[in-house]
């Protein structure tokens, strides 16, 4: 699975790493129990600061997507079965997207339709 960092994006690099790993888990490209690179190795391969990768991993740990420590490395965790709710970070992101949609003049129905289409597409993968 490739992780692509866009240096011109407004999204911070640590969030880009976090988002792509989450998407990889959702798409099944990263399965439960799979080892992720060490902070040093990923930072070296992406050409970013180790702190940036560390921040992304901490966020993923806080959201229960991964587990592990410095010595044993980090591993992909089984996605939580229950409670079926969004993490605080995802809720924040969704709030931002909904606000953007509202400002762009999208109706609630159209917004829900767009969300539905994206969800179904992800589900199909």
């Amino acid at each position: 699975m490739l992780i692509c960092i866009d240096y011109e994006s407004e999204t911070p690099i640590y969030l880009q790493i976090r988002n792509q790993i989450v998407m990889g888990i959702a798409d099944g490209e990263l399965s439960e129990g799979e080892k992720l690179p060490t902070i040093r190795s990923l930072a070296n391969d992406l050409g970013v600061n180790m702190m940036t990768v560390s921040k992304a991993y901490q966020l993923l740990k806080a959201e229960s997507f991964i587990y592990g420590d410095r010595r044993n490395g980090v591993t992909v965790k089984k996605p939580p079965e229950s409670p079926k709710s969004l993490s605080t970070q995802s809720l924040e992101n969704l709030k931002l997207v909904a606000t953007d949609a509202k400002l762009a003049g999208l109706s609630l129905e159209d917004f829900i339709l767009t969300c539905k289409s994206i969800y179904e597409k992800e589900d199909a993968q």
């Binding site: 699975m1 490739l2 692509c4 011109e8 690179p37 391969d45 050409g47």
Partner: protein
């Protein structure tokens, strides 16, 4: 002016460096990771006629430059050694600079076209998560500690005679080992969305370079051993050089061949799988060669194509490295000039009741008469078997040498010396020419 076989051999050796450089530069005209002549061109424009024209012009100019530089090397074969060194040093410096001119011109032309057309690749960087997570097994750089220890053997077997050779060889081995350690930590090659391809290409490249570094160090250690053998027993210096340099050159040629093959494969996969998702870092690469990025904290920067490493000139340490390299480079012809000049200076021998003093640039030997056991006069210069430490040019012979008749001696004479004195003290034999 007369033809010299030694000058011809050295000229061919120097010219082969130019040939290597020419092949590598010619290879820069092929797309690798969407980069050509140090400029990132989006996939959809790579077959544009305007790009093809620039590349064709580059190849043509490079070939003409290479032929002219090759012809300029020929006169070196007809020069006496000290003048040869002076000439070849200037030629080498000029060759390195001039061969880069077509590259720089091509780079600037492509950058201009890219800016005019508004072609811009994404400022994105890719890493393969699974490749980054695995530990690629390669021969450890610390294997070079074995040749490092072996290279110090002459120091114990030949005493102080071999300190220059031992330290030079050990220093070279240490430098290669450090380079190996740096290259071993460089980032993985991502050329495809298929992880297995990325793993295979990264593994092959790292292993080849690891074997190359350790192999070179092993040959350097072998050189040290053969040097001891050549001093202790009869061995032709030519045979010794062939035994050491032939496998080293073969190893280098083999590694270069594999590296070029790998680059070709990487280019193929990049084109096929990666599309435009190769980062456009052109703004940080001046003339496609020098990296300047104040926002990058790294000091050592891997080249965008190939396995070489450069420094970030925006960092103070990067500036120091660049200036030092430039100074060494500029000093090369001066060094050749210095050798040529010193060859012309007279070698003076003063024999008084107190001492024998031999002077060439500085006092080389000061032998008090009370230490001298015997002095004999010979009319012919001794036959040299091996130079241990010292200089042997067309005119000047001085330093520690192994001689056919006298064994290990200190010698001091010029080629036009008429008489030779064999001066023996308790622990040393000197051959002094007048």
């Amino acid at each position: 002016m007369k033809f010299s076989l030694y000058s011809l051999f050295m000229t061919i050796l120097m010219w082969s460096g130019l040939l290597f450089q020419y092949v590598f530069m010619l290879n820069e005209a092929k797309f690798k990771k969407n980069i050509v002549l140090g400029v990132t061109i989006p996939v959809s424009y790579q077959n544009d006629d305007i790009i093809k024209n620039v590349l064709e012009k580059f190849k043509k100019t490079l070939l003409i430059t290479f032929i002219i530089l090759s012809l300029l090397a020929i006169p070196a074969c007809f020069l006496e050694m000290s003048l040869f060194l002076f000439y070849i040093m200037i030629w080498l410096m000029a060759a390195i600079i001039i061969l880069y001119i077509p590259y720089v011109k091509g780079n600037l032309r492509l950058k201009k076209i890219k800016a005019e057309k508004g072609w811009k690749g994404p400022k994105a960087k890719a890493a393969d998560l699974k490749l980054s997570a695995i530990d690629i097994k390669t021969p450890s750089p610390y294997w070079s500690i074995v040749p490092l220890i072996i290279s110090l053997i002459p120091l114990f077997l030949l005493d102080k005679l071999a300190y220059i050779l031992s330290f030079t060889t050990a220093g070279s081995i240490l430098l290669i080992m450090i380079l190996h350690l740096i290259i071993d930590k460089r980032r993985s090659d991502v050329v495809s969305e298929i992880t297995d391809i990325n793993i295979a290409l990264t593994t092959i490249r790292r292993r080849i370079w690891s074997y190359m570094f350790i192999g070179c160090n092993a040959f350097l250690a072998l050189y040290s051993i053969l040097f001891v053998v050549s001093v202790k027993v009869e061995m032709s210096p030519l045979l010794m050089n062939i035994l050491v340099f032939a496998p080293t050159i073969l190893l280098l040629v083999f590694v270069m061949y594999l590296e070029l093959k790998l680059r070709h494969k990487q280019a193929e996969y990049t084109q096929k799988n990666m599309g435009d998702s190769v980062i456009d870092e052109d703004d940080y690469w001046y003339f496609g060669m020098f990296y300047f990025n104040p926002n990058d904290n790294r000091f050592m920067i891997p080249n965008r194509v190939g396995s070489n490493t450069t420094v970030n000139i925006a960092k103070p340490a990067g500036k120091v490295v660049m200036i030092t390299t430039a100074l060494i480079f500029i000093m090369m012809p001066f060094l050749g000039g210095f050798i040529w000049y010193t060859d012309k200076l007279p070698m003076q021998v003063k024999m008084t009741d107190e001492a024998i003093v031999c002077t060439h640039i500085k006092v080389n030997y000061n032998i008090p008469m009370e230490e001298v056991n015997s002095i004999t006069v010979i009319s012919k210069p001794p036959v040299i078997i091996t130079k241990i430490v010292g200089s042997a040019t067309d005119k000047v012979f001085k330093g520690t040498f192994k001689l056919e008749e006298y064994g290990i001696c200190e010698i001091f004479y010029s080629r036009d010396a008429k008489q030779f004195y064999v001066v023996k003290t308790d622990d040393t034999t000197y051959i002094i020419g007048k």
